[in-house]
C-alpha cells in the first residue's frame, strides 16, 4: 500500500495535472508578434527576414522562419496543436469552477481573470547579482528596458537525497527542411499581402491574394489565417452575409484562433461593438 502511494507520488502526472500545467505554460508563451519582432532584430543582419534570403541556402531560409511559433511549425508537419482547450476543458470537467476558487483564492483569481488575454506576470525568482553574465556591453542603450528590481533571495544549500524521479522533456518543434521553408516564405508573403491590402481597405486586393494562397496552398500552414482574413475582407468589403457565414465557419472550426477576436469585430458577431466602415 505504501509502495503504491509512493509510486503515485513519484511517477509522471496524469492527464488532469498535465493538462493544467500545459495550459499554464501555453498561456505564458511568447506572443507571436513579439516573437517575429525579436527574430527580425536578430536575423536581419544575418540574411534572415530583414536581410533577404534569396539564394541564401536552406539554413538561411530555415532561419527566416524561426519566428514561427513551435505550434505553427508543428502544424506544418501535420502535428496536433497543444491541448490548451483540452486542458482548460479538463478544469471544467473536474468541477474546479471559479466560484469555488473565488471563495478560496480571491487574489490569485482576480489577478488572472481580469484579463486572460494578457498573461499574468510570472512570479519572479532570485537573481544572483554576482552571477557571471554574458557580456554587459551587449546591452545597447537603444534596447535597454526600464524595469523594477527583482527580489533577491538566495537559494538554500543542498539537502540530503531522495529517490530520483524521472522527468521527461516534452517534444518540441522540429527543423523545417529547405522546401518547407521556401513554401512557408511564399505562404507568408501572400498572407502579408492580403493583410496589407486590408489595412488600406482594399478588400478586393486582399481577396485576390487570399485566393492565390488558397490555390497554391489549399492545406497550407496559414490556411487558418487565410480563412480569417477572407471573412474579414468580405465583411468589410460589402459582402456582409457571405462574410458572416465564413466568419461563423471559421469560428466554429478555430474558436481559439489568434484572429478570432478580429473576425468577430469585423463581422459584428456575438455582440461585437465594432462598426462596419
Amino acid at each position: 500500500m505504501t509502495d503504491m502511494t509512493d509510486n503515485r507520488v513519484d511517477t509522471e502526472f496524469g492527464a488532469r495535472e498535465r493538462a493544467l500545467l500545459d495550459a499554464f505554460r501555453d498561456h505564458h508563451a511568447m506572443p507571436a508578434e513579439a516573437r517575429a519582432r525579436v527574430w527580425a532584430g536578430l536575423a536581419g543582419p544575418m540574411g534572415g527576414p530583414g536581410g533577404g534570403s534569396e539564394g541564401g541556402g536552406s539554413a538561411i531560409e530555415s532561419a527566416s522562419e524561426a519566428w514561427l511559433a513551435p505550434t505553427r511549425v508543428a502544424a506544418a508537419r501535420g502535428w496536433s496543436r497543444p491541448a490548451l482547450v483540452a486542458g482548460a476543458g479538463l478544469v471544467l470537467a473536474a468541477g474546479l469552477t471559479l466560484l469555488v476558487l473565488g471563495s478560496k483564492t480571491g487574489e490569485a483569481i482576480d489577478g488572472v481573470s481580469a484579463d486572460a488575454s494578457a498573461p499574468a506576470a510570472i512570479e519572479p525568482v532570485a537573481i544572483d547579482p554576482t552571477s557571471k553574465v554574458a557580456e554587459p556591453s551587449s546591452l545597447a542603450p537603444s534596447s535597454q528596458p526600464r524595469i523594477a528590481a527583482p527580489v533577491l533571495e538566495p537559494i538554500e544549500p543542498a539537502v540530503n537525497a531522495a529517490k530520483p524521479i524521472t522527468t521527461t522533456p516534452r517534444p518540441r518543434a522540429r527543423v523545417l527542411d529547405s522546401t518547407q521553408a521556401s513554401s512557408l516564405g511564399r505562404e507568408r508573403a501572400l498572407i502579408e499581402r492580403a493583410h496589407a491590402a486590408l489595412a488600406k481597405a482594399e478588400s478586393e486586393a486582399a481577396l485576390a491574394a487570399l485566393d492565390e494562397h488558397a490555390r497554391e496552398f489549399p492545406q497550407g500552414v496559414f490556411a487558418e489565417e487565410r480563412e480569417a482574413l477572407d471573412a474579414i475582407a468580405r465583411c468589410k468589403g460589402g459582402q456582409l452575409e457571405l462574410g458572416r457565414a465564413h466568419a461563423r465557419a471559421f469560428l466554429d472550426q478555430h474558436p481559439r484562433a489568434v484572429l478570432a477576436g478580429r473576425v468577430r469585430r469585423a463581422c459584428l458577431i456575438e455582440g461585437s461593438a465594432s462598426e462596419l466602415p
Binding site: L21, G95, L101, P124, E135, A158
Partner: protein, 179 residues
C-alpha cells in the same frame, strides 16, 4: 565573402534559428521569472538571443535549456543593474492582431487553468517552486534542472517529489470541495 564563410554564416544562422524557434517561449518565461516585467520581456529576450548568437560556440546541445536559463539569468541581472543608466526605448506601436478573449467561456476556462496553477505556485516555497516550474512546466530533466539552478541533483529530486505531491493534493482538495 568566400563560399566557406557564406556556408559558415548560413550554418550559424540556421542553428540560431533552431535555438530560437525551440526555446524562445522558454526564455520568454525565464526572463519574467527573473523579475523582468512582461512589458519589457521582449527587449530582454532579444538581448538573451544576441548573447546566444555571440556565444554559439558555448551552446550546450545536451542541456540547451539549462544553458539558456543561465544566459537569461545573467542578462536579466545586467538589465536590472543597468536600468538606471538605460534610456527608455521608444514604445513601438504594436500591431494589435487580436487582443480580446475569444469567448466568455474560453476566457473563463483559460483563466481557471492559469489561476489554479498560479495560486499553487505562489504557495510553494521558493526552491520547490523553481524546481517544479522547470521540470513540470518547462519540461527540463532532473540533471538539467540541477545544472540550471546549480543544485545538487538529489535536492532537485526531493523538491520535485514534494512539489508533485502538493500539486496533486491541491487539486484533489479543490475537486472534493467543488459542488
Amino acid at each position: 565573402m568566400s563560399a566557406r564563410a557564406l556556408e559558415s554564416s548560413a550554418d550559424e544562422s540556421g542553428e540560431l534559428a533552431r535555438i530560437y524557434r525551440d526555446h524562445a517561449d522558454f526564455v520568454w518565461r525565464a526572463v519574467q521569472r527573473f523579475g523582468i516585467p512582461p512589458e519589457h520581456a521582449e527587449d530582454v529576450v532579444h538581448e538573451v538571443f544576441l548573447v546566444v548568437q555571440r556565444r554559439m560556440a558555448d551552446f550546450s546541445h545536451t542541456t540547451p535549456r539549462a544553458w539558456l536559463w543561465g544566459v537569461a539569468r545573467g542578462v536579466a541581472s545586467n538589465v536590472r543593474r543597468g536600468r538606471e543608466r538605460a534610456s527608455r526605448r521608444e514604445q513601438v506601436s504594436l500591431e494589435l492582431v487580436a487582443s480580446e478573449p475569444d469567448t466568455p467561456e474560453d476566457h473563463l476556462r483559460r483563466a481557471q487553468a492559469v489561476a489554479l496553477v498560479q495560486r499553487f505556485l505562489a504557495e510553494l516555497p521558493e526552491d520547490k517552486r523553481l524546481v517544479f516550474e522547470l521540470a513540470e512546466i518547462e519540461g527540463l530533466s532532473g540533471p538539467e534542472v540541477a545544472q540550471a539552478l546549480e543544485l545538487d541533483l538529489n535536492r532537485v529530486y526531493t523538491c520535485l517529489r514534494v512539489a508533485r505531491k502538493h500539486f496533486r493534493a491541491y487539486l484533489d482538495q479543490l475537486q472534493s470541495e467543488s459542488p
